[in-house]
Symmetry: C6
Subunit: 278 residues, 6 copies
């Protein structure tokens, strides 16, 4: 994977051009839907929990659609100006600095606003005219209106499990995007990923995935969020480094996801059961 890191003022982001195919195994027809949306200039909303592969999917699609990918991690201090750009003073001169959204609009990149609901409300208003047939981005500070290149695409992600009364996508925003629901990969797929990325054997990887899947069932029993594939890989890496499997699982699969003593005990039993049995 060759990456070209670019930074625009006001907000950190990266623009990747992928020369090799990112590793991604589809879990449904998300590739077809995304491709159809891309061809029809429809903006896309990726819905799903933490660490289920949304970001990797974006990289995979960017590679196959042969577009650069510009990712912006949204947070509650992110403003429209951060996305669009601002004048900065550089060595005494005033210089305009495109923000990540402007860069994407100009270059026909795919702009991915991760956890968009975290950003301030004016940012959502800014993207509205990019989501309908107008596909324009007004840049007030420069007094111009940019027409997005045909290749430009806007994508957002959002985690339904997190939305609260205060922070939620308004229907007038939601209804501007088609939405694809994401979930954790299947056990086979996840086993492959864990084995490959952590270096453990298929058997060990399978045990870790087995544990992970059982933990995700606790979501109905008080667990705030399922466990991400990333943490399964962490566990694998620790085991690979010689840490006892039980210890590795505790550090990578219990402590990171909950502080609740009872939940910790229950997960601990699952881990012991699975590890013993295999």
């Amino acid at each position: 994977m060759t990456s070209k890191n670019i930074l625009c003022n006001g907000q950190a982001f990266e623009e990747y051009i992928f020369e090799n195919e990112p590793y991604y195994v589809p879990t449904g027809n998300e590739i077809e839907i995304f491709t159809a949306a891309y061809k029809n200039n429809l903006p896309v909303n990726l819905k799903g929990p933490t660490g289920c592969g949304k970001t990797r999917f974006m990289e995979y699609m960017a590679y196959h659609l042969n577009r650069p990918l510009i990712t912006v991690a949204c947070h509650e201090d992110l403003t429209a100006t951060d996305l669009i750009g601002r004048f900065i003073i550089k060595g005494g001169d005033v210089e305009w600095n495109d923000g990540p959204l402007t860069k994407a609009v100009k270059n026909g990149a795919i702009c991915y606003l991760d956890e968009v609901v975290e950003a301030r409300t004016d940012t959502l208003v800014v993207i509205h005219p990019l989501t309908d047939e107008r596909r324009i981005l007004p840049i007030d500070k420069q007094g111009i209106v940019l027409k997005a290149k045909p290749e430009f695409m806007l994508s957002i992600s959002y985690n339904p499990g997190y939305q609260s009364v205060i922070k939620d996508l308004k229907q007038s925003t939601r209804q501007r995007f088609i939405a694809i629901e994401f979930n954790y990969p299947s056990m086979n797929t996840e086993t492959q990923i864990v084995a490959h990325e952590s270096g453990v054997s298929q058997n060990t990887a399978h045990s870790l995935v087995e544990i992970g899947h059982r933990i995700r069932n606790f979501k109905q029993h008080g667990l705030e969020e399922g466990i991400s594939t990333r943490l399964l890989i962490y566990a694998g890496k620790l085991i690979n480094e010689g840490i006892a499997p039980n210890t590795a699982c505790r550090s990578a699969m219990i402590e990171p996801i909950t502080d609740d003593f009872d939940l910790q005990m229950s997960i601990s039993e699952i881990i012991s059961a699975v590890l013993e049995w295999e």
Copy 2:
């Protein structure tokens, strides 16, 4: 449709002059009422849910009244200054930059403040003297008071379903506008629109509209907001691109409007029933 995009400082907006009639099918006597209001200099408030055609109606009226249309999408950081204008520094010189409202007042355009209740309170005070017989706009920063051209018209929109205790139009503002209630188009009209804008057959369009109308009935059963015509068109576009109708409907008509599992299941059954039957 020829459009001239203009940007004023402080707030993005667009000024359209419509050379061809925008596609709009009236759902009642809204055209007559709006025309009568225009002739009598009465400001108008368009009430209705997301995506029921209020914006398109404004375009249609602007065309028939032969006026440019200036639209401002209001949000909670929008201030009176954004609407009126400000001095900006451009190449070392200080330059005055009309805001969208000022531009409309000067040019005798129709100014449409979309979701006005989202804006900050000082913006509402600013429009008050434009809504009564005085029809003036004081521009404090320049020390002048503008008298609106006779052709100037002020229109706002507002979604009754969204209003909360915190954000509501005060009676002293509401009572300055006549109000027209909007709702979704009739099935026949909507079928025409969906077929025309997505490229699917009349039959498919009819099915999508049938589903849409049934979904809107869920509003009493926990659905926050009905489904917009735009999403029906999205579904059509995905189908047209070869996506299976069930899949297309899931991405365009279920996921975008609700995260509730039970509601999703109910809508899913509606979709299957309608698609099967036709």
Copy 3:
């Protein structure tokens, strides 16, 4: 009515000198009380609902007392500086710009602070020394204290129906003003006004006023605020333009005042009943 629009920096306001008598029919002894207050330098508080004629009364009194009228619409971002004035930069020079209150104090005008309770708290402190025997206005930024001209008068308005726990006039402010309670005009008076200002016949005007009075009785049954005379005139104008009376009343007398379905139905029945009967 000849008007001289003036704008002071920091806050929009208007200064009218009325050459013709504004149309106002007294509803009680408000003229005598206001006149007596004026002669005794007593500040006056106009209490009453939206659209019951307070502003028109101020214009009427300004005409008869032969004073210019300076009106400031208060809102929650209005500061003491907005009222008093500030230094502005104009073409490179720094220039002092009187605010509306300062202008009134200097010129011996009547200053009318509409919905004063909406303004920020420091504005209320600023007016205190103008309301007792001192009648002074300290202008801190210029380092001077202005003594109000003998003709200067301060008047405020306030809507008792709106006051909440958060926004209320403190007793230490309230007790600095005599207060006059306003209400809607009598049916005869209102009929005259509606007929005259909308152009409809006395009969139609009477029907509209009849409806209006019945609507105002709903205040005890969930209606937030009575209907203003202005909306009755709006209805008349639409009727005059050829809109069917039922339709005109819906747009001007139902939709602008409530979103509640049941209330809308009840008002609708009133309208039909009155229109049929007459």
Copy 4:
């Protein structure tokens, strides 16, 4: 009464030197206590309701102690800087401008902070070292510490009826002041004042005072605050101008103090009863 109005930057205030004795009739031993406090450099807290004569008492004491009086009306935007002073730019030069507290400390004036609890918390910290034996005022912006002149005295007022959980004098501040409780003047005294200041006869004045005293009894029955002597004078002035007593009392003694219909009716009956009887 000769007054010298002075304005310091950042906050308006006035400094009076009284050449004639202000009209004040003591209601207890407040004069002796205040005098003893003054001689012992004890700061004084005047407790009491709106309009009971605290300000007038301060003027009276300033006259008898032969000190200038500097009054600051506190509000929630008042900062320590406003009290102490700041640098201002005047014609290109930077100039230090004493605030009212600094001026009082330097000149040995009596500084009266009216409704001190309304000010921001840092202002209270600023006055602490002035209230104990140190009697110093550090002026950070100038890098100096002022020792108060022996004649300097600090006095505050506060209305116990207003204090809420949010805004209250902390014990660590309260216990730095001796406190004198104020209440409305006796009927005889108040009758004299009302007659003298409004111009009505002793008889009429007595009736107004009688009404006022009865109204004050409503404090236990829902009235937020008693009626001030000022409003009794207002009523007298309106009567003197020819307004009917009942009408004058309504405008000056009912509407200014409550919006509650039942309370208004009860007070109205009191007024009628007293006016009839006399």
Copy 5:
């Protein structure tokens, strides 16, 4: 007592070097504990109610340890910058100005942060590295890290009775200080102090102290805080000036501590009883 008042920018404070022993009578082993803490570089937290002698104790210890004392009264606008220092513009030049904490660290003074819990949270973080073995103070604006002189000591005070959910010392801060609990002095001690500082006789002083001690028992019955020794002295001073003891006690011992009518009555009875009896 010779004092050298010093002012650092950003925050007022004073640095005393005591040439004569401040008057302080120990109430327990607080002197030994404080001395041991000083020798071991342990920071000390003085816990206790308003006006129980904490500040005087600090002065006493500073005298005996032969250290200057720098006191900072904390309030909710106090920032880390206020404690550490800032660059100021003075006559065109930029000059660094040590804050009180920096001054203490450099000079090996005792720094006493009074009511530290009132300050903003970043101030607490700033003192952390001064409380453990590192004893350093990083000054970011100057790009240096100061090592405290061996004689430097940090002390804070805090009033347990005031702490609320919002404002409380976090355990991670509390556990960095040893803590000494303070309370009011014994009756004999307090009698001596009151007699000496107010000038009244031993007998009168004893009565005042008797009253004070009884008032403090009301703490369980609704009194927010006990009465400080300072107020007993105030009462003595008023009596000494010729004010009747009952009146003096009302102004110095009832009104300053409560607005509650029932509590005032109860305290009043105590006062009468004690004064009569003696």
Copy 6:
């Protein structure tokens, strides 16, 4: 221990290079886990209560991994800019000043963000791209993206007992770290530490530790947080200085951890019991 104190602008921090092994006795397999994480570039989250040795552990690991340690104490005013760096004006020139995180990324240091949950939300977004395979730090103000040196490691701490609804690590952040749970050292270990660092005998140290362990059991009975080892050492130091053990324990082990009278009494009994018995 040789330390090199470095200060970066915007936020105080220290960079230590440890020449001698810091004194640390492991309580589990935390050393192995941390080492494995370090080798695999996994970020680590240290979970545990105040004063249980997390900071000392970081110093110990930094020594053994032969890396400098940069510690940042997070607080609620800490912004991303504070971590990354900013331009400062120094003697007229503008100079870039690396923040602590940037310094660590450049130098391959271990960056330890203590109580990270206290910092503002944008800081958490800033560390995200450092926690996955990208290991990059975009510096927007300079327009560059730094790739972390291979030796760079990110570690955070967090106290599960403190987390509230408002301040909590989001799962999308938590799941980026493996986590190690910390607790107080065993009695033997703690006795050694207390004896060594305070200078008291093994016997006394054992008593103090015995008390400490019993106090920690009160956590279930209303004690907010267990007692830190540091406070046990404080008690030892006071005893060593000649303070009576009971008094020393009160100042170092009761007053610092609770203001609750009943809890204080219970702890006091424990202390007496243990001290008597030994």
